[in-house]
């Protein structure tokens, strides 16, 4: 069964450094989401793509976060510079209909 892939699974970085996360959605899924999940909270949407276009990035801190999905397939989320408060789980999800399928996440720790 096809699954959403994410890498790396874990990332430790120092504040002010740049980090990047990669997501490969399920083949054929046009919609891709990046969520951030802080410990003890539910996931919160950062950015949503429909093919290569951004549909919703209203909650993305654009001064330091960027996301791209150049060919409408895989996607990269970048943080530069990382801050202590960015420590969280970053989840990628994809969908073709109403159901979202989640990847395993990337756990980021900023020291």
């Amino acid at each position: 069964e096809a699954e959403v892939a994410q890498s790396p699974r874990y990332k430790i970085t120092e504040k002010s450094q740049a980090v990047a996360f990669w997501c490969d959605p399920i083949s054929g899924h046009a919609t891709l989401y990046w969520y951030r999940q802080i410990l003890g909270q539910g996931p919160e949407l950062l950015v949503q793509f429909q093919d290569e276009s951004v549909v919703d990035d209203s909650q993305l801190p654009k001064d330091r976060f960027s996301a791209e999905r150049l060919k409408g397939v895989d996607s990269t989320l970048k943080i530069q510079p990382a801050e202590l408060g960015d420590s969280a789980m970053y989840l990628c999800a994809s969908s073709r209909g109403r159901t979202q399928y989640f990847g395993p996440g990337t756990r980021l720790l900023v020291l």
Binding site: E3, G42, P43, L45, Q48, L91, R98, F102
Partner: protein, 110 residues
């Protein structure tokens, strides 16, 4: 603003006991509600959605628009039901993003 509230963070029951995980929502539009589950060391996955009106792994959930609730119920809990459960609201209008509650940890003891 859209909001999902799961008032309890933890629930611990014995095997065979009934469980009810509460979820309330706030949304001015026509709501579409989901329950997602995350078992230990596994990814977040869909458990059920109100539109489907089906029972998955013995769980059911009914949308009550009057009480703005979507509580998850199971008459006889099993140990394998132990997991984190998240209630989520799909926001309409192009984005169809999910707004999640904070989650609830269910522990079913033998």
């Amino acid at each position: 603003a859209q909001r999902v509230t799961q008032p309890e963070k933890l629930l611990s029951v014995f095997k065979g006991a009934p469980v009810e995980l509460k979820c309330n929502y706030s949304y001015s539009g026509s709501p579409e509600l989901f329950w997602y589950v995350q078992y230990s060391r596994q990814r977040l996955q869909l458990l059920l959605r109100h539109i489907s009106r089906e029972s998955i792994k013995g769980f059911t959930a009914d949308l009550n628009k009057g009480e703005t609730s979507f509580h998850l119920k199971k008459p006889f809990a099993q140990e394998e039901d132990s997991a984190m459960y998240y209630c989520a609201l799909s926001v309409q209008g192009g984005s169809e993003k999910l707004v999640f509650g904070k989650g609830m940890k269910l522990t079913v003891n033998p």
